[in-house]
Subunit: 417 residues, 2 copies
């Protein structure tokens, strides 16, 4: 069985000074792996020609494919492009189609084009251009001594599009890739170490060609099984068998037998029932609404939200009773239930989710420390509330509370998958 | 002037398969730079001894300091520790204080200690231990031929603590560090290439010890000037002078003379005026609310939001007139202004921001294609609306619209910085 290796070389001082977190490399790992390409190393270097060449030469001793991102663009002097042309000993040529695309982008934005923008369409003579309809810098595909060197812009939105549309399909044609199959189970409400304890026997019995990755993200952990081999059918059968064993072991911690987000799963459940949803958010401050409306077509089931950051609004807009606010405080079972019921009635939806808690860093007390969060859901058969004690910084508490609220509603659905 | 260079070597398969985004490296860049240490390269390698040694040997040709993170812990066979002992040709010894700390952690969690946990307190004979009171793996400090090699756990919470408490202070003692000063200007509403054109003369005239980085993110670009020298005062004066020149060149595109986000700036402006804010979001679906409430203390100026995903709610909750919805559609100047005025009146705030648009991928038409977004702000002196034609996918349109809405309010402030 073949193994095909790649190195990711990210270029840019902003990565080295810590101004930008490199998310491109993780995305590349997530997306090259299923295509059969293993990433051997990730190297981040400065906007410096000699340093880029050193990284390229070093990587070529290790791997078959080099993916370079960044260092393209008029304000960077197109350092990567010029370095590659010099490295291969070739000149630059104007690519007419790339030029057209650059012009089209400026026309679309109604902006006059500058000379430096025109230069963006110049590419090294020995490369195949990778056209970029989301930005002005074309990507480049080089073939040299059986190795592939690809250079792409560092802007994630542009890079991802060019990888998906051009680079990955072409790599799978160029190399004889092993077959890699994945099977992902989404779990919710259980931590990584407890999960690993629960499926310990299954994990220990995995054959060497099947690997398991734990992908935690707040309240959820995705279990990704990856199998490498020659035949898709055989691998799928093996993965199915393992997935069934895992499902039996984890019971209701299974949120979905698919690689979906909680907000996608909720959307599907709501559509199936022809039901609608509203939210009343205090401590999550609109983050649940944001996650739900990130899904295309969410307008079909999501009516809207009342974000009640102040108590005043909880009272006036959500009908929370003044006495409950006074007696129990805004972070309480009584108030969060009234919030859920209030928004459901007001916006006339089938279901609702509400949150009220202390995201910190201020506002905590001995009885209700930072991380104390009440979540509630309301629906045709009643209202439920749950107390969470969350850890982490403000951002983590907001995100975990949002996931917990959505997961609570998911579990509420009677015939859930 | 001395320059001191470091390389970060992160160890772990989870980084290469994209399971984990490497945030440690950015943190190290942010925290080593102000101490005078420049990061030359970041290298991520697999849990493999030969690969780790290759990375160490390669890095030692480039830099003075190597910071290794990850690959420590019983489930990883303490790969980094054993690799380093072999690399230096030394044995392991039990460190009594490290052992005490490991025991204390197990006592705290009321867990029985296993033999493999005891082994965690073994360290290579030639290293100085870096004690870890947040986890079970001690860090290691090696001095060899004038170079420093540090190995730390990959858990961010443990690594950061050990860097701040031990490694950075000790590095600044060991090396004669240069002084590094930064100055950041936040610009908004102007693209990177136009900006670079506007400040071209200033950029070309920069002395070699001052570098400029463009850091774009949706509607904003941060300009970060970094100066290196021997005296903080002199550098600050130079940076001040340059900042003033840039400010003069870019006029109102300056959003802030600081390294802040738009939501932080808005928060400060609101607090200064003792003013409050509410939002009415349609296409941005709670994203503005989320950004604003991500800032600690935002409850002092942010009242809340009505997220009106359906027209029904625009009418009922925000007082948008049925005839405007019918005649102009929900994505129109008339409706977005009514939304802004409606939420401001309803929640009783000084200012408000409203959005209504088509985030796609569905819902576009010839007259109003995907990316058509109206944003409005309302305040004591009136209501303003603005039409945007945004590009990108759903997520980008949501993010750009949110930034544009916040920037519009920022510009509205009479005595803005």
């Amino acid at each position: 069985m073949n193994r095909v290796f790649a190195e990711v070389i990210t270029i840019g001082d902003e990565l080295l000074i810590g101004q930008v977190v490199d998310t491109n490399s993780a995305w590349l790992g997530q997306n090259l792996n299923p295509a059969g390409v293993e990433i051997k190393q990730i190297t981040s270097v400065s906007d410096d020609s000699a340093h880029i060449v050193e990284a390229i030469e070093s990587a070529r001793k290790r791997v078959d494919i080099l993916i370079l991102t960044g260092g393209l663009g008029p304000t960077r002097d197109d350092i990567t492009k010029n370095t590659l042309a010099t490295y291969f000993g070739v000149g630059l040529k104007m690519d007419e189609k790339a030029l057209e695309l650059v012009r089209a982008i400026f026309a679309k934005h109604n902006s006059p084009m500058l000379d430096i923008n025109e230069l963006q369409a110049m590419i090294p003579e020995n490369c195949i251009p990778i056209y970029n309809d989301r930005g002005t810098a074309p990507g480049m595909w080089f073939e040299d001594k059986g190795q592939i060197i690809v250079s792409l812009p560092g802007v994630p939105y542009e890079m991802k599009h060019m990888m998906t549309q051009f680079v990955i399909p072409r790599l799978t044609e160029y190399f004889e890739m092993p077959v890699i199959r994945h099977r992902t189970l989404l779990t919710s409400g259980i931590g990584e170490s407890y999960l690993s304890k629960k499926i310990e026997d299954i994990e220990l019995a995995l054959p060497p060609h099947i690997k398991l990755a734990y992908l935690p993200s707040f309240n959820t952990v995705r279990l990704r099984f990856s199998a490498r081999g020659n035949d898709a059918n055989t691998l799928d059968k093996e993965l199915n068998k393992i997935a069934e064993q895992v499902k039996e072991s984890i019971g209701t911690f299974l949120a979905a037998d698919s690689d979906q987000s909680l907000q996608q799963i909720l959307g599907e459940l709501l559509l199936e029932q022809n039901a609608t949803l509203s939210t009343a958010e205090s401590c999550t401050g609109g983050y649940i609404a944001h996650l739900i409306t990130s899904i295309p077509g969410s307008g079909r089931y999501y009516a809207g939200s009342v974000i009640s950051y102040s108590n005043d609004i909880k009272e006036k807009e959500l009908g929370v009773s003044a006495s409950n606010l006074k007696n129990f405080g805004s972070v309480s079972e009584e108030v969060v239930k009234e919030m859920a019921e209030g928004v459901r009635a007001k916006l006339g939806t089938t279901y609702s989710i509400a949150t009220s808690g202390i995201a910190g860093p201020d506002g905590g007390s001995k009885e209700k420390p930072v991380g104390t969060v009440w979540v509630a859901i309301s629906g045709p058969t009643g209202t439920l509330a749950k107390l969470l004690q969350l850890h982490g910084g403000r951002e983590q508490i907001i995100q975990r509370a949002a996931m917990a609220g959505m997961d609570m509603l998911r579990k509420y659905f009677p015939s859930t998958k």
